[in-house]
């Protein structure tokens, strides 16, 4: 029941918003829809906490410790993004960057996107997981090109084509998976259900699954934004409206990684080796290194944080590949804190670039003087994202580092170099933007404060104290992913 509310609200909101269009209260409906979704997500979480994993809807839905926290996270960040987008989009509208029709489209697609992500998380069917991932891509393609500038259209086209091709590879991987599963579980829909597959994963044909994993890795890896499949990501993040950058970076990448990890569990079970893990470690480490060095060269503020997302997804992928209880725990926590921190950074970045009417970092100055909340929000967000204590990213990166030193000591220097370069690159850029005096061209604006404050408090809490329910879920998830 809770599941239906959770999925239904976003779908219904999408339809309502398509009719409401550009009325004055459209952003409020958007917020309301996301807030109810979030409440339903919380309700579901409480249910799972009390009763353990849920299988519902004729085995169509499946909720366990791994996807329940991602569900809450997804609905929470979509709610705060909806709050942020109210003021942000209103200003874009007043400055004539978008018109009536596009506001209608924006709100409707935003809700559809949330629906697609939640469906991807909650479904038990590996095939439906693929469909939901594709739907999430399709619903955001036209949002990336919302401003209709040549660069925005180019970015959206790249996103459409590259992710389309990538995800097609994942479908081939899914076909191969079904081919192997059918032999064990028999024909029909049952053979693609994750709950069934995970029980018989040791009976699946290892050669087929190894081949399937290569395709799944390339496919979902494109969506995670792993180097060398990352080309679309900086463009899509920098050209779209900022609320969309926030949800793409904070949520969609997580969901793609979730899909990949679910598949990895099956492959590991079938092959009995650690080969899939090694592949993920390779992609992860390469992403960390390439992205952190690319950070040094960026001039566009949103582009820079897009590369930072690639780096952090690399860290999480690397940690999942490494396996073992500590690394997996760290990776789960990292997905959570990165998502909260990065979306908060994008909120402040959006306001900062509105204040200066540019995304070029060399022209953004004196943010703390201009608007203390935006300035400090950005500063603290960056401190959190580079892994300074006492924020949550420090905890997760520390756990992953410890596990690396223990299980793969030779890779430690590379991992550390990546972190250090990213640290230096981000601080070098952000420090002049927030400090100093404000240029005369800077405009004042009414910033959306609540989302930033909420996110930063949560990241801070997670750095200092781990709530019992969360650590219980993470421990259960670690067991599941072993």
């Amino acid at each position: 029941m809770m599941l239906l509310i959770l999925l239904g609200i976003s779908l219904i909101s999408a339809i309502i918003l398509a009719f409401v269009g550009d009325r004055k209260f459209a952003p409020e409906i958007n917020i309301l829809g996301s807030a109810v979704t979030f409440l339903a997500g919380l309700g579901l979480a409480i249910q799972v906490y009390a009763q353990g994993p849920i299988i519902a809807g004729g085995k169509f839905f499946f909720v366990d410790a791994f996807n329940v926290y991602l569900t809450v996270l997804t609905s929470f960040v979509s709610m705060t993004t909806a709050i942020f987008s109210r003021r942000y989009m209103r200003r874009e509208r007043e400055h004539g960057r978008i018109g009536h029709k596009r506001i209608r489209f924006y709100h409707s697609m935003f809700q559809l996107f949330i629906f697609a992500m939640l469906l991807a998380l909650l479904t038990n069917n590996v095939g439906v997981l693929w469909i939901a991932m594709e739907l999430a891509t399709l619903s955001t393609v036209l949002l990336v090109s919302l401003y209709r500038t040549p660069t925005a259209i180019e970015a959206a086209w790249k996103y459409f084509i590259l992710c389309g091709v990538g995800i097609a590879q994942a479908l081939f991987g899914t076909v191969l998976l079904y081919f192997a599963a059918e032999k064990v579980l028999g024909e029909g829909g049952e053979a693609l259900l994750w709950t069934n597959l995970s029980q018989v994963s040791d009976k699946l044909e290892p050669t087929v699954l190894s081949l399937a994993f290569v395709f799944l890795m390339v496919g979902y890896g494109t969506k995670v934004g792993l180097v060398p499949l990352h080309n679309w990501l900086p463009d899509a993040h920098s050209e779209g409206p900022t609320p969309i950058s926030a949800v793409l970076s904070g949520l969609l990448l997580n969901i793609a990684l979730y899909a990949l990890v679910r598949c990895k569990v099956l492959v590991d079970g079938a092959t009995g080796t650690h080969r899939a893990g090694y592949i993920m470690m390779g992609f992860g480490l390469l992403s960390i290194l390439v992205a952190s060095f690319s950070l040094l060269r960026q001039k566009d503020i949103k582009r820079m944080f897009a590369y930072s997302s690639i780096e952090h997804m690399g860290i999480a992928t690397f940690a999942f590949g490494l396996g073992g209880p500590i690394a997996t725990f760290g990776a789960l926590l990292h997905m959570l804190v990165h998502s909260l921190t990065k979306s908060s950074i994008f909120f402040t970045v959006g306001h900062a670039s509105q204040m200066h009417s540019t995304q070029e970092m060399s022209r953004i100055r004196g943010l703390i003087k201009g608007n203390p909340l935006v300035g400090w929000g950005l500063m603290l967000g960056v401190m959190a994202i580079v892994g300074m204590p006492p924020f949550g990213v420090f905890t997760s990166e520390f756990l992953i580092l410890t596990a690396t030193i223990k299980d793969a000591p030779l890779l430690t220097p590379f991992f550390l170099i990546g972190l250090a370069v990213a640290f230096a690159a981000l601080f070098r850029r952000v420090q002049p933007m927030v400090s100093g005096s404000a240029p005369s061209s800077q405009q004042s604006l009414k910033a959306a404060n609540l989302p930033v404050i909420l996110h930063m408090i949560l990241v801070l809490i997670l750095g200092i104290y781990m709530p019992d329910f969360l650590s219980k879920w993470f421990h259960t998830a670690v067991e599941l992913l072993k």
Partner: protein, 219 residues
Amino acid sequence: MNLAAQINSILAALILLTAFGLLVQRRIYGLLHLFAWQGLFLSISTAVVGYTAGAHHLYISSVLTLLLKVLLLPYILYVLIHRLQIHKDVETMLNVPTTMLIGIALVIFSYHLTSPIRELSTLVTRSTLAVALATVMLGLLMMITRRNAVTQIIGFLAMENGLFFAATSATYGMPLVVELGVALDILIAAFIFGIFFFHIRTTFDSLDVEQMNRLKEED
């Protein structure tokens, strides 16, 4: 080898042939016709497999393919091409013989890659899995070598055909809910690229994706 398997092999060969045709066809209507033919072969092949294997849900997939890939999508593309007035365009292309040779190499590679699976499978259709993978690869190659937005989309749809063919040849088709979902996604994608063509056209004055080169890493 029984009759059905032979018919299926012929259809697989025809699908591969159309994939190669798409790779080097310069005229936009020519591409459209080839794409529709490919869809038709795919649809017949699905029906034949469904008949021999007694898998009746494949008839639904077959009809779905016929409607979507032989009638609807080519029609949408036809209307778009007509509205955009690009039906007389002839694409300039990279080296045709080289492209063909790369294509052949991809087919051999696909056979090599799927050989362990062929040995495991007991289905009548197993030998066609390599062709399916090759069709996917050739679609990919087409998207890389071509510069026109419409052509890239046709390459993308051809790739989707290959995936569908893989599903029928390796496993007698995916579960129905998955196939319906995939069809829905393709429909939404068709809606989106339709919008896109016009955006690209109004912004860049042509559908040549070479012109989209503003987003580059700055130094």
